[in-house]
């Protein structure tokens, strides 16, 4: 008797499923003109210097309402609510740094 080996095998995809959580992004402004900028650094090396330089370049291209409000968060987790609330209160848009 001749047997024919199966050409395929059925296995589980090991990746499972990602859990997507709802986050509603803020609406984009049409322009940054007259808006109050914010900066949130992650305290990594040169993070503040880089983000301030980036916002400085933005300020050179458009007329912002004020100097940026700068906050920082520890690099071991998300910003605490006080910082988020402060940023929402004092800035219309924010530049946030992540990674190294």
């Amino acid at each position: 008797m001749t047997t024919v080996a199966a050409t395929t095998t059925r296995v589980y995809d090991p990746t499972g499923h990602p859990r997507i959580i709802p986050v509603q992004p803020a609406a984009r402004p049409q322009s940054l003109e007259g808006l109050r900028p914010g900066i949130l650094t992650n305290r990594k090396m040169n993070a503040r210097a880089l983000l301030e330089a980036m916002m400085g370049e933005v300020a050179g291209a458009v007329s912002l309402a004020s100097a940026p409000v700068v906050e920082s968060k520890p690099s071991n987790g998300p910003p605490i609510q006080r910082i988020v609330d402060s940023m929402k209160e004092s800035a219309d848009f924010a530049l946030v740094g992540t990674s190294d």
Binding site: T15, P18, I20, P22, V23, P74, T98
Partner: protein, 433 residues
């Protein structure tokens, strides 16, 4: 990596600007040209309207895993039956750690659940950066692939629960440039029952339970968590300990109470501790014949520059070999005395480091007020309680130190329990009827 995590947070169109490395280790005035290079892109990112509804719809409770909520079943796919072809297909899909895997067939996964009384769709943790649902079933798939036997599975369940806790910060652990891995330490009667090894050569090869359990946890991180090197894992060099790093404490040869008793459990509880750390650093001392002499070598070894513990303190782990432990205990050293000694003396002088590096350390702690000055001696732990001490290994006088990830992850010790959260004394209590 940012894109990966943003998508799982419902922000698949999140705008971001990538500034090329290096950023750290440069003078601050080098940031100007980097900023100029992305100005146009940055303004557009702030102002261009989102073209779509942005992001997929939510499909779960969000945040940290809620133990009671259920995930979705893994899908099945038809792949080549030929062993080599199947191996290549798994590699092509980045479903493996680079080593051959056992094909996770339905029969094998079902068998893996023999010692698990939980719902296969129970979510043990949500593993970032991909934010994958580590269901019992998905975890069992990884256990099969790693070569675990079903009796080992309860320990893996506890480990996945541990890395899924918010305080462990699996997102940072998986995504960091730091060469960390997840150490999986087993204690208690179930560690012995399933053959976890804590004696001679316990960090090395041939011990099946150690090798396959540690590998299975890594496959959970890779496959469910998306911690693929270069994508969700941004480790600069990585570490060979990412392949597997699991062992038991050598409780039989320890002069001190088992480690889990320092974590709020009893010696009869079976626990799994997950700890984000570097591979072991040798602490050789065949010369000292007193506890104090050994501790001088210990603090000299641990108080080094270059670890994340110097950068960011946090937790750190000392694994004492039984021969060192016997001398230490004989001279009256217990964990508390050793912790005190290490915390006070395993320090590195700030004036041996660059001024800008000390500034960087201070910036991380408090941007406004420097914590450490030029004459400071930098600690390697947040406090005495963050210095963990275990006994591991066999004959010989090589202890070891596993520097941690710093203050970015807290070790988690999880009891092996049934589905009701009640500790079990034997895996037989979990066996399906």
């Amino acid at each position: 990596m940012l894109h990966l995590e943003a998508e799982q947070r419902g922000l698949k169109d999140l705008r971001y600007v990538v500034v090329s490395h290096p950023i750290g280790g440069l003078h601050a005035d080098a940031m100007g040209p980097k900023a100029q290079a992305v100005t146009g892109e940055l303004i557009e990112a702030f102002t261009k309207p989102y073209a779509s509804s942005n992001g997929a719809r939510a499909n779960g409770a969000g945040g940290a895993a809620a133990a009671s909520d259920l995930g979705r079943a893994n899908v099945m796919v038809d792949l080549p039956a030929d062993e080599q072809a199947l191996r290549r297909e798994f590699a092509r899909r980045t479903w493996s750690d680079g080593l051959p895997v056992i094909a996770p067939t339905e029969e094998r996964v079902e068998a893996m659940l023999e010692y698990c009384d939980r719902d296969p769709l129970e979510v043990l943790g949500v593993i970032a950066p991909r934010r994958g649902e580590a269901t019992v079933q998905a975890t069992a798939v990884c256990a099969v692939m790693a070569g675990c036997e079903p009796r080992m599975f309860p320990a893996l369940v506890a480990a996945v629960q541990g890395i899924g806790r918010e305080e462990f910060n699996v997102s940072g652990v998986n995504a960091t440039t730091h060469p960390n891995t997840v150490l999986m330490l087993l204690n208690g009667p179930i560690a012995r029952e399933i053959g976890a090894h804590g004696g001679m050569g316990c960090f090395g090869p041939t011990f099946e339970t150690n090798a396959t359990l540690g590998r299975a946890l890594r496959l959970v991180q890779l496959n469910i968590g998306g911690a693929t090197p270069g994508l969700g894992d941004r480790a600069t060099q990585g570490t060979p300990a990412k392949f597997t790093f699991c062992f038991a404490e050598n409780e039989a040869e320890s002069p001190w109470a088992p480690f889990q008793t320092t974590r709020g459990f009893s010696a009869e509880d079976s626990t799994v501790t997950v700890y984000a750390c570097e591979a072991p650093h040798n602490i050789e001392d065949h010369g000292s014949n007193t506890g104090l002499g050994i501790m001088q070598t210990v603090v000299g070894s641990m108080g080094q520059a270059g670890s994340n513990n110097i950068l960011a303190r946090g937790d750190t782990l000392l694994a004492v070999t039984p021969e060192h432990a016997a001398v230490l205990a004989g001279d009256g050293w217990d964990r508390e005395k050793m912790r005190e000694h290490i915390f006070e003396l395993a320090r590195f002088p700030a004036d041996h480091l660059s001024v800008e590096f000390i500034d960087h350390i201070n910036e991380r702690i408090d941007p406004e007020t420097p914590t450490f000055l030029k004459d400071s001696r930098l600690p390697i732990a947040a406090n005495r309680e963050s210095i963990h001490i275990i006994v591991a290994g066999g004959p010989g006088k090589h202890s070891s130190w596993m520097p941690g990830f710093g203050d970015m992850s807290l070790p988690q010790t999880v009891a092996i329990t049934n589905r009701h959260g009640e500790p079990v004394r034997s895996i037989e209590e979990l066996r399906r009827g």
